[in-house]
Symmetry: C2
Subunit: 158 residues, 2 copies
DNA sequence: GAAAATTAGTTAGTGCACTAATCAACAGGG
DNA sequence: CCCTGTTGATTAGTGCACTAACTAATTTTC
């Protein structure tokens, strides 16, 4: 067995592990978020709005690293749920101002217990969660940089 | 600001970071896998088959932790690409035997360079990739266990 | 001030991933 | 046997996530 054969197996474990971990953790959130009538991506949008509202659609998609085309129907579903309102900004008619409805703002109270519940379900303390987060952020950084610079020799003149 | 308010932010970083990292890394694979005409999930299926073929659909879905309902159309697309053949097993007419076509087997040669390319693109050496993999496996374990035991006191008699 | 370029969002189309419902094939127990 | 229950795969339906193409509004440039 050559080095590359080993690589194939190691790599499988890497990207495979990351994908499965993401799916598994999101799945573990599901029953908890069901009590708020939210999916996991919708929960992330609400977190962004609880930190700051009203907020421009463009701003939210930047904060969550989501394409505008992905966010657009997501916001419509949140509006249909009654958690969010969508209006064109007066200052710039292109911009979509997204705001919390009273129900959306009130939902934050119920969401306060979610993080603690999930940490205990996943058997993580704050330190390991924080370390994990650090690793993820570094990965995101490396992956998006790799994405921006497809040519193999790009780092030579970066 | 209360402890729970801080939790909301920490948690956001955790599950959020994991999801974004997964998406970002998969996106970084995309241009590399495009040369094999494969998507990332399709690549994972091929890896499973390169390790062992023929293989039962049920077996593949277990190895990749994918629902059979997700795998089914995926296999059809791989068949349409000419990399895979699908036949009912003679021994058990319910079972679907998935095998590599010559083209699918030959594709492995081109795939050998993928892991090395990706590791360098992500700026990871084998040790950190291995450590990362370990962390992911532990997370998967915790998350699936949490999933199997929704009642809060389940670990008391585990 | 009009033409050109840019920006913000939406729509269309593809592919994943899940749940629930369905179907055919198998395995046992009476 | 045959009836019941289980198993392996598929189908239908929902929701994410992406790219490409498009619309409309704003900004830049001449």
């Amino acid at each position: 067995m050559t080095v590359q054969d080993n690589d194939l197996r190691l790599d499988r474990q890497l990207c495979f592990g990351l994908s499965v971990a993401s799916r598994s953790v999101v799945a573990a959130y599901k029953p908890v978020l069901a009590e708020l009538s939210l999916t996991h991506p919708q929960y992330l949008v609400m977190l962004a709005l609880w930190e700051q509202a009203p907020r421009q659609a463009k701003d939210i998609s930047g904060a969550l690293l989501l394409e505008p085309a992905t966010l657009s129907p997501l916001l419509k579903r949140l509006e249909a749920l009654g958690y969010v309102s969508r209006h064109r900004s007066a200052a710039d008619q292109r911009a979509l101002a997204v705001d919390l409805t009273p129900a959306g703002a009130a939902l934050r109270e119920k969401a306060l217990s979610v993080p603690g519940t999930m940490l205990s379900r996943l058997g993580l303390d704050r330190d390991s969660a924080s370390a994990l987060h650090h690793t993820m952020m570094a990965l995101i950084d490396a992956a998006t940089r790799a994405d921006d610079a497809p040519p193999a020799h790009a780092q030579l003149h970066a």
